[in-house]
């Protein structure tokens, strides 16, 4: 497996702690299977999803390779292949497969991947925005008024139709904005990866790191806000 490891402030020690095989008590050297007795080992709770796939903590991921690795590991852990094994091994296989599935689902999606990395590096992102981001403030207020008016209107009337056209245009605009944000996020992700690759330990690098994480957090929460507005809008106008 890939042995790159990022060394970041506050991150946990990624290498699975050297521990003992639950079965033969020998010191574990294999990754998920004991090298001595070949028994499956539980994926440690401390193992993050990047490490789980043997990947460095980077935001650009080759999805083909990720999929191939996911399939390979599914073949190693899936409960289907543990039917004839002991109950302990079956339990481990079930837990590992569930973890693997979550890891794959998270890393496969660029947004979830960034959210997850942010969580690992700087704590949870789930500070949910309740008011619009400042640059959207006016627009959103206006939108809310239009939605109210549309809801109150006779949909078949002239006004109703005019409001609907307005809302459809508004939805497109917001969709576009969401895409712009995703584009911006991608840029920051590339910057993040480049910074990590340089592996500098200067105070300048540290400041840059914090700046990128802060930006990431902001975009992610703004994007979630806009996404929810778009979804609500879609539900209203059908």
């Amino acid at each position: 497996m890939d042995q790159h490891h990022t060394h970041n402030t506050g991150s946990r020690d990624l290498r699975m702690a050297r521990s003992m095989c639950w079965h033969c008590q020998s010191e574990m050297s294999g990754e998920y299977f004991c090298e001595r007795c070949v028994k499956v080992q539980p994926v440690s709770k401390e193992t993050d999803y990047f490490t789980c796939f043997g990947l460095p903590r980077r935001l650009t991921i080759d999805l083909k390779k990720l999929e191939a690795k996911f399939y390979e590991m599914s073949r190693a852990f899936h409960p289907d292949f543990y039917q004839n094994k002991s109950e302990t091994e079956q339990t481990i296989s079930l837990g590992n497969a569930a973890t693997l599935n979550t890891a794959y689902r998270t890393l496969r999606d660029p947004i979830q991947r960034a959210e997850y990395l942010l969580d690992l590096e700087a704590g949870s992102v789930k500070d949910i925005r309740t008011s619009p981001p400042s640059d959207l403030f006016e627009e959103i207020l206006e939108l809310q008024e239009t939605v109210e008016a549309y809801r109150a209107s006779d949909r078949t009337s002239e006004t109703g139709r005019r409001l609907l056209t307005q809302l459809v245009a508004e939805r497109q605009a917001l969709d576009q904005r969401k895409q712009d944000m995703e584009h911006h996020l991608q840029q920051i992700c590339t910057d993040w990866d480049a910074l990590q690759d340089r592996g500098e330990a200067t105070s300048q690098a540290r400041t840059e790191r914090d700046r990128l994480l802060k930006q990431m957090r902001e975009i992610l929460s703004n994007r979630t806000y806009v996404k929810n507005i778009v979804n609500d809008l879609a539900a209203t106008i059908g």
């Binding site: 399939y71 599914s74 073949r75 899936h78 039917q83 079930l94 497969a97 973890t99 599935n101």
Partner: protein, 606 residues
């Protein structure tokens, strides 16, 4: 590892299959047919299953259960609006429907277990070994309660259900194995009672389900009802006759509607004839395929909605589907094929028998579990979101629909009041916002040590296993101690009840065997009596008087034994009779041989 068989426990028909030299094959019954109608009837001789039970649908409709799968994991309120269609009587106890047959009432898993037992016996007879382990298929859109009910049915039938797998994915296994397919496929499964759509990616032996959707209350049964309602209306107007008070005629109409529907898959028009009660003559009419199609168009359209939703969840356009596979008897309807073809813009495949493909796939999965097949692996998803009730009657989702299983989610719980010793948790399944619009799965009370509010930290793990069945565990984060949880299912049998049913079923199994032996002995005795009497009438002049008297005596003895209940006594008297009557039958044989030779030239006899 003992052999594992694959079972398709269908609404209409059930089958059992196994893996033979790397190829799945279905197991036929004595008559050569592999399909067992999913019908159970209570007769004077006891419970019967399958083809013979189907004959009782019109003879004793109130004692003949069909489409029991519609009731699995359900309460009475769930099926309220279709009760009128079923001639047998349904009640509810402990959140579980009960079906009354004679003096007893049975839960849907018990009825299903009778069908499973029939399949089990069939497999045992065919393979010459005892069968105790199985994979059973369920509609992909079955919820946790329905899956659990299916597992219970297996247990009651004396089968360990090693895996519950989804019908469309099972079909994809059989299809993929046969055709070595790679790419994205859609499996459209339209049977008797349920509809499922699954979209999968097939790559190097991995069958990854991308999305699944469906309707567990949409199938050929609904088409039959639509047609039957038309007939009933016309009979009401034309003959001034309301058949709803005649359960037997209602069944006859339903069956005629189904037969007409099936015929119209091959023909453009068909003749309907139904005998009416009370000397009202007979109802006849012609039904054309066009008429049928316009009558049921909306039902067929309803199958397309889940298809579009599944595509959306898989983030695919119809054109990105490489192949469409048709499963289930209802996909034989030309209109269904046409609509599917239009939606996906490609000719659907139906090169594996749509009746058998699910059972074949179950056999493949059974082989994977037993270690026979190692290059194929199915990665399935949960069809419905899983969540818990939060403040204000809102469902908070923990595992989203279409998440690959096994899947787990952890939640941390604490207390709001000092010294609080428990937290009530209500588990739900569904896609709606509000608790009341989703399916209640279970409730349990989490035990908490009495501490100041907010101090206890109990982590609850919700795990959906590879069967899509929920397992809940909890542990106290402060002490690291695990807690056992007693989950009370909202619509399921309790463990105790299942155990009782297993016991009963075992008891009945022995009674059943005894009953079966008696029935068989009587039937054989009857046959022997008939042939002996025939011999007597033909050959009385060929044997001595005292011989005839002896035969008559043995015949009387057998007739008496046949009236009793001891199969051994019957067999003994049969042996006596055969022995006594032997000279007679030998003489008769010689005689007929002689006569058949008369008038023939020697050269003809070779």
């Amino acid at each position: 590892m003992p052999r594992i068989v694959g079972i398709d426990l269908g609404t209409t028909n059930s089958l059992v299959a196994y893996m033979k030299d790397g190829k799945p094959c279905v197991i036929p019954g004595r008559t050569g047919r592999a399909m067992v109608p999913s019908v159970v009837a209570l007769t004077d001789n006891g419970l019967i299953v399958g083809d013979s039970a189907k004959e009782h649908l019109t003879r004793s409709p109130e004692r003949t259960v069909y489409s029991v799968k519609r009731f699995m994991g359900k309460g009475l309120a769930d099926v309220q609006n279709e009760l009128a269609y079923f001639p047998y009587s349904l009640t509810e106890r402990g959140g579980v429907i009960r079906i009354t047959l004679g003096e007893k009432s049975y839960s849907p898993p018990q009825i299903s277990a009778m069908i499973l037992k029939e399949l089990k016996q069939r497999a045992e007879a065919h393979l010459g070994e005892s069968i105790t382990k199985t994979v059973i298929t369920v509609p992909a859109y079955f919820n946790d309660s329905q899956r659990q009910a299916t597992k219970d049915a297996g247990l009651i039938a004396g089968l360990e259900v090693l895996r519950i797998i989804n019908e469309p994915t099972a079909a994809s296994l059989a299809y993929g194995l046969q055709n070595k397919t790679q790419g994205t496929i859609a499996v459209y499964d339209f049977g008797g009672g349920t509809f499922d759509i699954s979209i999968l990616k097939l790559k190097n032996g991995i069958f990854e389900v991308l999305a699944t959707n469906g309707d567990t209350h949409l199938g050929g049964d609904d088409l039959d009802r639509r047609i039957a309602d038309l007939f009933l209306d016309e009979i009401r107007t034309a003959a001034h006759l309301d058949l709803s008070t005649y359960p037997d005629y209602m069944q006859a109409v339903r069956l005629e509607a189904e037969r007409a529907k099936v015929r119209l898959s091959d023909e453009l028009k068909t003749q309907i004839a139904i005998e009416l009660p009370d000397g009202k003559g007979r109802y006849t009419r012609e039904l054309t395929r066009d008429q049928l199609e316009s009558m049921v168009m909306d039902i067929i359209e309803r199958t397309l909605i889940p298809c579009r939703l599944a595509l959306k969840d898989a983030e695919l356009m119809p054109a990105q589907i490489d192949e469409v596979v048709l499963v289930g008897g209802s996909t034989r309807m030309p209109l269904v094929r046409q609509r599917v073809q239009e939606l996906f813009d490609k000719q659907p495949h139906c090169d594996i028998n749509p009746d058998e493909v699910v059972a074949l796939g179950a056999a493949v999965q059974a082989d994977i579990l037993s270690g026979g097949t190692t290059d194929m692996l199915l990665l399935d998803v949960t069809p419905l979101s899983l969540g818990i009730e939060t403040m204000g009657g809102v469902m908070s989702s923990l595992i989203r629909r279409n998440t690959t299983i096994p899947a787990s989610a952890k939640e941390l719980f604490t207390t709001y009041v000092d010294g609080q010793t428990g937290v009530d948790i209500h588990i739900l399944q569904g896609e709606r916002e509000l608790v009341k619009d989703n399916r209640s799965l279970a409730r349990f009370r989490l035990k908490v040590p009495p501490l100041p509010a907010g101090v206890p930290r109990i982590e609850v793990t919700f795990l959906l296993d590879a069967n899509g069945i929920l397992n809940v565990t909890a542990s106290d984060m402060r002490t690291g101690q695990r807690q056992s949880i007693d989950v009370k299912p909202s619509y399921g049998l309790s463990d105790n009840e299942v155990e009782q049913m297993i016991e009963d079923s075992f008891k009945f199994a022995q009674e059943d065997v005894a009953a079966r032996k008696l029935i068989e002995a009587r039937l054989d005795a009857e046959a022997l009596i008939v042939t002996t009497e025939k011999s007597l009438s033909e050959g009385a002049r060929l044997v001595a008087q005292d011989m005839l008297a002896a035969i008559r005596e043995a015949l009387t003895a057998l007739t008496a034994a046949k009236g009793g209940t001891d199969p051994k006594a019957i067999r003994a008297r049969m042996a006596d009779l055969e022995q006594t009557a032997k000279p007679l039958s030998v003489t008769l044989l010689d005689d007929s041989l002689k006569r058949s030779l008369q008038g023939k030239k020697v050269t003809d006899i070779t």
